[in-house]
Amino acid sequence: MTLEKVREILEGELVLDAGNPDTEITSVCSSDLMSDLLHFSSEPKSLLITGLNNTQVIRTAEIADIKAVVFVLDKRPDRETVEMAKQKGITLVVTRLSRFTACGRLYAAGLGSCTGVNR
């Protein structure tokens, strides 16, 4: 489904639009631990759902080739984080939903997990 559709399902607010809202998303990574993101196999169609909203998330997302980040529980990224995401071309969405509900809705909607390595 498109990034725009994901945003809709999560009742999210687009904080930074870095590219095409028609970007196809096929899988979801959900973690607050940065090393964990680096585990995932190359998945340019991946979305990250996290409760950690610092610049580290953006840096790690860039290294892991993640194109969009969703912050849960209304955790808004600060200006520095938004600026970094803008530079690196990573879309940012904020949702009031919890990580559980966000994952739940997207799982029910048919998205898969992007953890390739640990299977």
Binding site: S31, D36, C103, Y107
Partner: protein, 111 residues
């Protein structure tokens, strides 16, 4: 619905022996940040995390959570297991990703 139902539905491996599997579940909380769990998790929720260190037991006990599910094939540290048995906190592990485990619990809680 209790912890045992979740364990069965997700084919979880229960690592503790003294935890109460009949503990009723009020919901589910997913986070790897202890401060976040301390602030936002509610009593009776089952907690999904990747963290394996002993502090998770203290948090689960303080917040009266119904249990901890550690995903991505991670294994709890020895000290963590000791504390969990002392505090009678259920710890279960799974090869599922956090997203999948959360998604599956979401589905069964909705029914």
């Amino acid at each position: 619905m209790n912890i045992r139902d979740v364990v069965e539905a997700l084919s979880l491996e229960v690592k503790t022996t003294k935890g109460d599997l009949e503990h009723r579940i009020t919901g589910c909380y997913i986070s790897d940040l202890l401060s976040d769990v301390m602030a936002n998790a509610k009593e009776g929720e089952v907690w999904i995390t990747l963290q394996t260190h002993p502090n998770i037991v203290a948090v689960a006990a303080l917040k009266n959570l119904s249990g901890i599910i550690i995903t991505n094939k991670r294994t709890p540290e020895e000290e963590t297991m000791k504390k969990a048995e002392d505090e009678r906190i259920v710890i279960a592990v799974s090869p599922l990703s956090t997203f999948e485990a959360g998604g599956m619990i979401y589905k069964i809680l909705r029914c």
